[in-house]
Amino acid sequence: MKLSQGVELVSLLVLTAMVVAAAMGVVLSPSIVYAAFLLGLVFLGIAGMYLLLNADFVAAAQVLIYVGAVNVLILFAIMLVNRRKVYREVKLGAVRQLVAIAVCVSLFALLLYTNLNTVWLLTPEVTALPSGIVTLGQHFFNEYLLPFELASVLLLVALIGAIILARREFVPDRGEENLELVERPKELVAVKEE
């Protein structure tokens, strides 16, 4: 075994352990904030796995979209609605656990079945592929130029729509109490923010 293959194998093992441990943490952590941060760790580990699979653009997109955008939105959503409430458990007991076990076992069985029945095409001699990013860029600026530019218009629409919704300019006639649902009550602002 060459040194590079050893490094690859060790990286894969470390990443796998990290992803599994962090994912367990997401599920088992009692604090939703810790769960959100651990979810970011899971996304980072998966990005590392994409790198090991030689998918560098997918890895970059994973870091930017999932760690950057999705996780930030999840954290902000938690920050905006986070209130210390005492949640009551649904009194279903055994039925709930049985349903959860059934769903998890069937999902695992499906994954195992797919894994065992797929013919994995392993091409061992992949050496020095050209980076897919350059090819992607060339396609962006040749035949996919219009979708590329339309994407910016779509992002513009999303930005303006988000600002309008967050500023609540288009609140339909529901009066003031609609604002109070989302805005924090004033006396809690006392925690320093500057």
Binding site: A69, F140, I160, I163, R167, E183
Partner: protein, 119 residues
């Protein structure tokens, strides 16, 4: 070996893991282990913290998150262009400028609407 030129990334990752763990571990070894009520308060620039750290934040911060997400997604689109810049030429440069200009419109809108102000 599939990956080319990612040795640096590996080295950087190892350094990134090493530096904070060394800093925390060494200070854990060296510091006196005194336990008081001050150990459990939130550190807030040396001031006495008021209230808990787990509060509901103002909706205004959400606008920064939304603007960040939009420009984050823009980065994904511009990334292949930046990597393939030498092969693409002037036409792609102008196209990318148009792409950025359309999004700068959104930034100007956000600015004019006061979405970027703390107040």
């Amino acid at each position: 070996m599939v990956l080319q030129g990612y040795g640096y990334l590996l080295v950087f990752t190892l350094v990134c893991i090493l530096v904070p763990s060394l800093a925390l571990g060494l200070s854990w070894l060296l510091r006196p282990k005194a336990v008081g009520p001050g150990n459990f308060t939130t550190y807030e620039s040396g001031c006495e913290p008021i209230g808990g750290a787990w509060i509901q934040f103002n909706i205004r911060y959400y606008m920064f998150a939304l603007a960040f997400v939009i420009f984050d997604v823009e980065t994904v689109f511009l990334y292949p262009w930046a990597v393939a810049f030498n092969q693409l030429g002037l036409f792609a440069f102008i196209e990318a400028l148009i792409f950025i200009a359309i999004l700068v419109l959104g930034l100007v809108y956000a600015w004019r609407k006061g979405a970027l102000e703390w107040s």
